[in-house]
Amino acid sequence: MTSTGFILQQLVNALFLGSIYALIALGYTMVYGIIELINFAHGELFTAGAFIGLIVLSALQSVGWVDSHFILTMVIVFAMAMAYVAVLGVALEHVAYRPLRDASRLAAILSALGMSIFLSNGMMLSQGVSDRAYPSIFGAEGITVMGAKITNGQIFIILLAVALMVALQLFVHRTRLGKAMRATAQNRTMSRMLGINIDQTIRITFIIGPALGAAAGVMVGLYYGAVRFDMGFIFMIKAFAAAILGGIGSIPGAMIGGLIIGGVEVLWAAFLPSAWKDVTTFTLLILVLYFKPSGLWGQGDVEVRV
């Protein structure tokens, strides 16, 4: 393996992991941007997406669709997982967050933590405590560029993640609903006075954020090959760090933050002693917050800005 190949391979590894973190981080950042709440149950929504993907994919595999209608199968699997988790997200908002919208922030955070435990235990009871194997859709086939091996599965997942992020950017900046979201994020009271339907805007946020998380869940299942009820926790920690690093509330911040966290994690382990991998990731987070408390793309507290 040449040095170029080695570096290229590690960059692919980093890009892959970073895109997954970015997709999950978007869910945190969007919800925070709109209602200033850290949705601690987001990691569980991500896991729920992975399980729905598993159930749908297993069903489609048993009727042989994976071989005969590959693209259609993927569309159905991702669509079902995202739709189900979007419904779950809206329900979560309705049950756990809406009644507390005008209560103290601590109450909402406790409610989020409670929902996280509730969902996690629910999945434990319904899906079991152990790893569930995902059907092997992508084998070891792929392309080799200058000694770096990129599997078809990696290409598919990276492209899909990028497509979802581009679609989100277009939605937020090019549509009326997106504009309403940005306005609500800036100043909820003023937006309401101008006739924006705040409830609807929040609901849309709780559709998009969890749906992106669900897509990331399916990707993790497809690529790593196993899902478990508590797998959301480790991904949540990393994605949360990514959202904070990028500046919580900022959509491009979450994407870049995800890529940075994934990149540091992989590249540190690649070139320096791997025992220190996680220490470095979080040291970097502390350093960034020390010099720029609102994160790399953060714009400071909304109240201050207004």
Binding site: D131, S136, Y224, K277
Partner: protein
């Protein structure tokens, strides 16, 4: 007259309570991770003990046998808390824990409370070297395991270079330290890298790519099954040419299920599985009782621990820790993992063999003691 009546009533009450206490229940606690990444193995252990209690049936001298499951979560703090909880609920014997890093701290309160502790899974050699009288271990030790691995690498694989991966826990770090020690002593294999991963992680491509560039003859995966299954899949996707070797924590049906085709050709160390009618009967009962397709490797040891405990209590006629300890140590017990006889430290004389994954099954491959193919 009234006073006398009250006194008689009190005496009757006390006698009554005493009579109730005499309705004797044997309480066996289990300590294993029922939550967290290793919950599969933890559940296997709990179910193994419950199966033993059911199969053994009536225990003379006791009205009933109760199993109290404790959750050690593969975490020292949680294991100690769970151990204390079991002590407070009055258990006489504890079967557990799974991770060596959970067993080690849990030993302290249990040994202080004079409770017999039998681990069905923890293999770090340190556990039996503390002079604890009431501690017994079912599986073979990690220094034996590491020795078998090094023998295999030197004599069968004839590997010249080796890379180690571990997740920094007591069990895995102990294994890689032992392998390093044995390899250095023989000086036939060069250890070219020692990499680390974090338990619970999913992505190991960075470390694997690093090892791909070094291209050692063999790579040792010192991890638990959930990480091992994902690691081998990623290694195959990277087209790595090294031979992969792993250990008893990865030796689990789940490794075959999640690893699938990627698991083919992986070598693992695990004790021999003696074929006996009792073992087959256990497999049948277990599968039926828990509606299970496959049986976790540590369910066998847990079942043996449970059966041996009950047989020893029957023989000793009491659950008193000192007499029970003596009975367990002085006798040889039948078991589905081979004959059970403990030495003065609480270890069995069990050896490992090398297994290989072939057609999605674990197949015996090589015996490090005789140096012969199996």
């Amino acid at each position: 007259m009234k006073k006398i009546a009250i006194v008689i009533m009190c005496v009757a009450l006390i006698a009554g309570f005493h009579g109730m206490a005499a309705a004797k229940t044997l309480k066996i606690g289990t300590l294993s991770p029922l939550t967290g990444p290793y919950a599969q193995d933890g559940t296997d252990i709990k179910q193994g003990v419950l199966t033993a209690v059911k199969v053994f049936g009536k225990l003379p001298g006791f009205d009933k046998v109760e199993v109290l499951p404790g959750d050690s979560a593969c975490d020292g703090g949680k294991a100690t808390m769970a151990a204390n909880k079991l002590i407070n609920s009055g258990v006489q014997v504890v079967v557990g824990a799974y991770c060596s890093s959970a067993t080690e701290p849990a030993q302290i309160p249990l040994m202080d409370a004079k409770i017999i502790m039998i681990t069905p899974a923890s293999t770090n050699e340190r556990l039996t070297q503390k002079g604890y009288k009431y501690f017994f271990r079912m599986p073979p030790r990690d220094d034996v395991q590491a020795w078998s691995t090094v023998q295999f690498l030197e004599k069968k694989l004839k590997a010249k270079t080796l890379a180690l991966i571990d997740d920094k826990q007591t069990y895995t770090a102990g294994l890689t330290a032992n392998i390093t020690k044995f390899a250095k002593k023989d000086n036939m294999i060069k250890i070219v890298a020692h990499e680390f991963i974090t338990p619970g992680d999913s992505d190991f491509t960075a470390v694997l790519t690093k090892l791909k560039r070094l291209n050692p003859d063999a790579i040792y995966m010192g991890v638990y099954q959930p990480e091992g299954s994902k690691m081998i899949r990623q290694a195959r996707k990277l087209d790595m040419k090294s031979t992969f070797i792993s250990e008893d924590a990865v030796y689990h049906p789940k490794f075959l299920e999640v690893g699938g085709k990627a698991a083919e050709g992986v070598y693992l160390t695990f004790a021999k599985a003696p074929d006996s009618p009792e073992r087959r009967a256990f497999e049948k009962t277990y599968k039926k009782m828990w509606n299970a397709k496959s049986i976790g490797s540590y369910a066998y040891y847990a079942y043996d621990a449970g059966m041996m405990t009950l047989a020893a209590i029957k023989k000793a006629g009491t659950a008193d820790p000192d007499q029970l300890e003596k009975t367990i140590r002085e006798n040889t017990w039948p078991g589905i993992t081979g004959k059970i006889k403990f030495d003065s430290k609480g270890d069995r004389k069990l050896a490992h063999i090398i297994w290989v994954v072939k057609n999605n099954k674990f197949v015996p491959y090589w015996n490090p003691i005789t140096g012969k193919d199996l």
